[in-house]
């Protein structure tokens, strides 16, 4: 009799737990479904591009300038242009964005000025990229007289991704526990020392990840580059940044005209000759590959830094 009641109570508890756990299962299933749909779309897109562009996915394609003949056209000037623009963008947005984030997170007093700056930074992330293009056209191309150059393109995209870099960097800085800061302060460190010796080194992984996410956004941008006057037909390379003789590097390429991967794609897609569509698909596959590679690097970096630092 006694055992029977105990057994019944147990059964009831089990039924209750199982009933409530149904929501866990439903949520996991919905989550997986959504995730896999998104992944599936990306994979299908990528495979489709690879399939369409397969005839042109070879070494020559990477190594040739654009041409009026589809089968001889390549993306050499486009991927070199994209790489140099990304280099410029990273070189500008990294120091500026990280410095801004450090100021906002570690130094800025909590007052209305700071609040306005913070709201603006967040809002800037939502400004359409063509607006940045217009701003850059007036400011960099004409006012600063940079012309339709790699420097102008790099600065434009830097502006575009600055909010992303700032927000990501702030997140990374905030992830450093207060206890660690206090430990450093208690030893007599100044604010600068706490930031330079502790907060920044411990948040490098997060900062670099945010940087690369920003660059992944920038690499595909087309509108602002068209606005500031990217060319779609460039049959020469900018002067190499590296030189055989002293001082071994040069910045002449900054002033040169440019094209970029998305510009080249856009140009090919808008041509009537179907042979160019194949080129566009091949370029698209390579651009997507470049983006995925960058994201892969970001994940690797995060993994490396997380492994070293666990609070």
């Amino acid at each position: 009799m006694h055992a029977a009641t105990a057994d019944a109570a147990l059964q009831q508890i089990r039924a209750d737990v199982n009933r409530r756990k149904i929501f866990d299962k439903i949520f996991v299933m919905v989550g997986l479904l959504i995730m896999f749909s998104a992944l599936l779309v990306l994979v299908v897109l990528f495979l489709d591009l690879v399939q369409d562009g397969a005839p042109r996915l070879n070494w020559d394609f990477l190594n040739s300038f654009p041409s009026r003949k589809a089968e001889r056209a390549g993306i050499l000037s486009a991927w070199v242009g994209t790489s140099l623009i990304m280099l410029t963008t990273a070189a500008v947005s990294m120091p500026v964005g990280v410095a801004a984030a450090i100021y906002l997170e570690e130094y800025a007093p909590k007052n209305w000025m700071t609040a306005i700056i913070e709201i603006n930074v967040t809002n800037l992330a939502g400004v359409p990229s063509i607006i940045y293009g217009l701003l850059a056209l007036g400011l960099f191309v004409y006012q600063f007289n940079l012309g339709q150059s790699i420097a102008a393109a790099g600065l434009t995209l830097s502006l575009l991704i600055l909010p992303i870099v700032i927000v990501a960097t702030r997140e990374a800085l905030r992830a450093v526990p207060r206890a660690i800061r206090e430990a450093a302060y208690a030893l007599g460190a100044t604010r600068w020392e706490v930031t330079a010796h502790h907060v920044l080194p411990y948040s490098t992984g997060g900062i670099l990840t945010g940087m690369i996410i920003g660059l992944s956004r920038a690499i595909g941008e087309t509108a602002p580059l068209i606005t500031i006057g990217a060319l779609s037909f460039i049959a020469f390379l900018p002067e190499s940044p590296f030189k055989g003789e002293f001082p071994f590097f040069s910045f002449a390429w900054l002033k040169e005209a440019f094209t970029a991967m998305p510009i080249q794609m856009f140009n090919w897609v808008s041509r009537p000759d179907p042979a160019f569509q194949v080129n566009a698909a091949a370029a698209g596959a390579i651009l997507l590959g470049m983006t995925l590679l960058m994201n892969g690097v970001a994940i690797y970096i995060r993994y490396r830094f997380r492994k070293r630092i666990n609070w």
């Binding site: 526990p177 206890a179 430990a183 302060y185 030893l187 502790h198 630092i309």
Partner: protein, 296 residues
Amino acid sequence: MQPGTSTQENPARPVPTHAVEGRLTTPRPSVEVGKRSTGDEQSLVIKSRAEGLSFYYGNVRALKDLNIEIREKRVTALIGPSGCGKTTFLRCFNRMHDLTPGTRYEGRIMLYPDSLDLVGRGVDAIEVRMRIGMVFQKPNPFPKSIFENVAYGLKVRGVRSNARIEEQVEQALRRAAIWDEVKDRLDNSGLSLSGGQQQRLCIARALATNPEILLFDEPTSALDPIATARIEELIDELRDQVTVIIVTHNMQQAARVSDYTAFMYLGELIEFDNTSKLFTNPSQKATEDYITGRYG
């Protein structure tokens, strides 16, 4: 309640009246009663004295007119129920509150022998922290090597000589009773140590710069009993070398490690006396209620 009873009263600084009329209703600890006091008057130098100290978080007055004397090379424990302000008080000594906007000190904490007002407006918090070390509630080693952890305070102080840094690091690790456990792996991360070892590493880190006062903020509350015992042993050994102020939740711990105990309640100092006196024969009803477990 005669501050003049202690030796080395600073003649340049007359005691303000509010310190005399302060809330200390019990006599100052006398030399004979202390369980650790040897009767050696020379050792009872006042290292620091809070005079009419109040502290505000915004408009909230968290500490109310505290007056207390901290003896040099003695252990002073701050006890009291949660929220009584003992940690808040401790963190005034190294100006940790300066990191929180909207906080304000009133009154003074004098540091002797040079009569520096630790919470004075013109006194830089960094300068204060160069002289007063702190060990926190949760072990918080930097995610750097054991060596770098201990060497950091020296680095901040501009010590460049590697030989000197190595010597001081070893000395600090020995003083913190952890040298034998880590001497073969100084390059390993401080985070690779166990919780108790991490806390001793943090003590070594604070000792490396030879602080005049070492603040402990519930240093064992995150540790198991064995690690706790080792830390208490260590504090006992440090008694001869440095002035210690320790906040603890654990009354047995206060009784075990301290020479003097201050009981705080609702931001006020209720009673301050020799540890043995305070625990065996408290003069205040509130103290007695607390140490007999009636609240807290």
